[in-house]
């Protein structure tokens, strides 16, 4: 008896019943929508996110000015305060910066750029991470070790260092001025290369759990190829955690882009993202021209907080243990 007792290696039996209050809670919250409607924060966060995405998409239609068109900027209009202050002028409702750029328009366009960079960055890192995670988890062995060690190497380099390096390489190889397209591409790649590890690790561990299950074995027996099994059967089972990581990384990616612009590798001042606007605007903090940094800062903080709250809620809602 004692011999068997000491051996604690076996998997624990799956509990047949959770504690009763948990089960009760699950009755109430059996679907995501119900849980969503229950959470006021989630509703507010979603509305805020939708509002900001809407504003970003509609930026060219609703902005008083196209801040990217140098011909529309006039130094005569530079450094105007918001409309409610003494020297404020329509149509510069939130004031202008030192180039005569309308702050409201710049924020709307900047929101757009920040979101584009964030979303593309998250998609890139997601694709890299999920692909590598699936491969590592399914193949195992040397390939798994290799991918995970590469992940270690990557972790050594935080996003900002990667971006500095990627940026330097790209600028040197392309020479000259980069259009905003390739520049966004660069930042997206930097972010993609910085954030994939989390996806890879999550997906890998899920795959390792899933691949032992009967349905995967069955799929293999009926002759499905590994890619088909992975994509059709295993992937759907890891979407939950991946989605949670993606949401939180979206906020992180937007902040990272802002930080990069502080180190001079972000988007150019002529095509400012929210981060670039804050970087240039923070020069005007001491001089009392607070509106140049305050409004982009509020927009950025609002966006990031809203996305984070959504992510939090999603994480809690998808985590049965927390219900």
């Amino acid at each position: 008896m004692s011999g068997r007792d000491i051996d604690a290696g076996g998997a624990p039996p799956v509990p047949l019943q959770a504690a009763t209050p948990g089960r009760l809670a699950r009755w109430r919250d059996s679907d995501l929508l119900a849980s969503f409607l229950r959470s006021k924060t989630a509703i507010v966060a979603l509305l805020a996110t939708i509002l900001m995405v809407g504003l970003a998409v509609a930026a060219p239609l609703i902005s008083p000015q196209n801040p990217y068109d140098p011909a529309q900027l006039d130094l005569i209009n530079s450094n105007l305060p918001p409309i409610w202050q003494a020297d404020g002028q329509a149509p510069f409702y939130l004031g202008t910066d030192d180039q005569g750029r309308d702050v409201l328009s710049a924020v709307l366009y900047g929101l757009r750029l920040s979101l584009i960079v964030g979303v593309l960055g998250v998609i890139t890192s997601g694709i890299i991470g999920i692909a590598l995670g699936l491969i590592a988890g399914y193949a195992g062995g040397a390939l798994d070790t290799l991918i995970m060690r590469v992940a270690d190497v990557q972790l050594t380099f935080p996003a900002i260092l990667i971006a500095l390096v990627v940026d330097g390489v790209a600028r040197a190889s392309f020479g000259g001025a980069l259009d905003v397209g390739p520049l966004i591409g660069l930042i997206v790649i930097s972010i993609g290369l910085s954030f994939w590890v989390q996806y890879a690790r999550t997906v890998r561990s899920s795959v390792m759990v899933e691949k032992g299950k009967d349905y995967v074995q069955a799929a293999r027996l009926i002759g499905l190829t590994p890619p088909v099994i992975l994509v059709r059967h295993v992937l759907p089972n890891v979407t939950g955690p991946v989605f949670v990581i993606a949401t939180i990384n979206l906020a992180l990616a937007i902040i990272t882009e802002a930080t990069l612009s502080f180190l001079g590798t972000g988007l150019p001042e002529t095509m400012p993202s929210l981060g670039t606007l804050i970087r240039t605007g923070n020069r005007f903090l001491f001089s009392g021209e607070w509106w140049i940094v305050a409004f982009p800062g509020l927009a950025l903080a609002g966006l990031v907080i809203a996305i984070n709250l959504l992510g939090d809620w999603l994480r809690d809602a998808l985590n049965p243990k927390l219900q």
């Binding site: 004692s2 007792d5 000491i6 604690a8 624990p12 504690a19 009763t20 209050p21 009760l24 109430r28």
Partner: protein, 326 residues
């Protein structure tokens, strides 16, 4: 019946949700005497565990005891202040959970957890508490307790861990033990050993036991009396021999048909079509009426009160004398 240890009267537990209050336990009453084992059976979600939690005062928000009384040796404990209730827990009421693998804190040595419990309730010195802990481990049948006392939970097998859990529950010599599915998670061979152990210890210490399970086999083997619960209500309560051999409530009748499936989850009873209602949709009248093969008009309107039928109390209109007379 000997001296009454636990007395539960019209216990009602409500969960406050945004969709309004949900009644999880609805006017449940029962007694447990000294040295007696009361089995509580029912399907998943019948309210067995909530009843156990209510007795030991561990109903978490948003749940609360919204009615009735719980008395331990005649002393009300359902309305004690939190600190006083804490002193009752462990000291006067012990509890054993279903899963021994998760009941013990993985980061603390087994002995430390016992010593900690002892010292929370007694004046024992650290050294004395340790000696007592070794005795307790020996008592629950752990071999070489003076060595195993310094082991961590993961170094014990499931059965051994449940023994440790029992030792912990018994540590402060409580008058009542609530055992919530104590064997469900264990291998069949170990289940019997644990039940035997539990029975022996209770006899020796004179401890009352509330044995919550969905396994009729365990009940038949261990319990003195049995309460059958359905949708938060007691359907039938009586001596185990009476209820098992001659159930009265149509639900209990169906349930007893499930005994042969000793080790299996008795979630759905083949004999009774349908499933237990959700708390949000408990039917009017008798909660069992949509599934009851013997349903009649009154069942859909009026909730049956327990009636003494032989040695059992049965909540069913079938046995209402006035009904029969009609």
């Amino acid at each position: 019946m000997s001296e009454t240890i636990l007395s539960v009267r019209d216990l009602t537990v409500t969960f406050d949700t945004r969709r309004g209050p949900l009644t999880a336990i609805d006017r449940v009453s029962f007694d447990i005497g000294r040295g007696e084992i009361l089995g509580v059976v029912g399907e998943s979600g019948a309210g067995k565990s909530v009843t156990g939690s209510a007795v030991i005062g561990l109903i978490d928000r948003p749940g609360r005891i919204s009615g009735g009384e719980i008395a331990l040796r005649g002393e009300r404990i359902d309305n004690l202040p939190p600190e006083a209730m804490r002193r009752v827990r462990g000291r006067r009421i012990g509890m054993i959970f279903q899963d021994p693998l998760t009941s013990l804190d993985p980061l603390f040595r087994v002995g430390d957890q016992i010593v900690e419990t002892l010292r929370a309730h007694t004046e024992l010195s650290a050294r004395a508490a340790r000696t007592r802990a070794i005795d307790l481990l020996a008592e629950v049948g752990i071999p070489a307790p003076e060595r195993r006392i310094d082991g961590y939970p993961h170094e014990f097998s499931g059965g051994m861990r449940q023994r440790v859990v029992i030792a912990l529950a018994l540590a402060a010599e409580p008058e009542l033990i609530i055992a919530d599915e104590p064997t469900t998670a264990l291998d069949v061979s170990v289940q019997a050993q644990i039940i035997t152990l539990l029975k022996r210890l209770c006899r020796e210490h004179g401890t009352a036991v509330m044995l919550v399970t969905h396994d009729m086999g365990v009940i038949a083997e261990a319990a003195d009396r049995v309460a059958v619960m359905y949708a938060g209500r007691v359907a039938e309560i009586g001596p185990v021999a009476a209820v098992v051999r001659e159930p009265h409530h149509p639900y209990a009748v169906g349930l007893m048909g499930a005994i042969p499936t000793l080790s299996q989850e008795a979630d759905r009873l083949s004999q009774i079509p349908g499933s237990m209602p959700r708390l949000t949709a408990i039917p009017k009248g008798c909660a069992f009426n949509p599934r009851c093969p013997k349903v009649f008009a009154r069942c859909r309107v009026e909730r049956p009160e327990p009636i003494l039928v032989g040695a059992s109390r049965v909540a069913c209109h079938l046995y209402d004398v006035t009904e029969k007379a009609a």
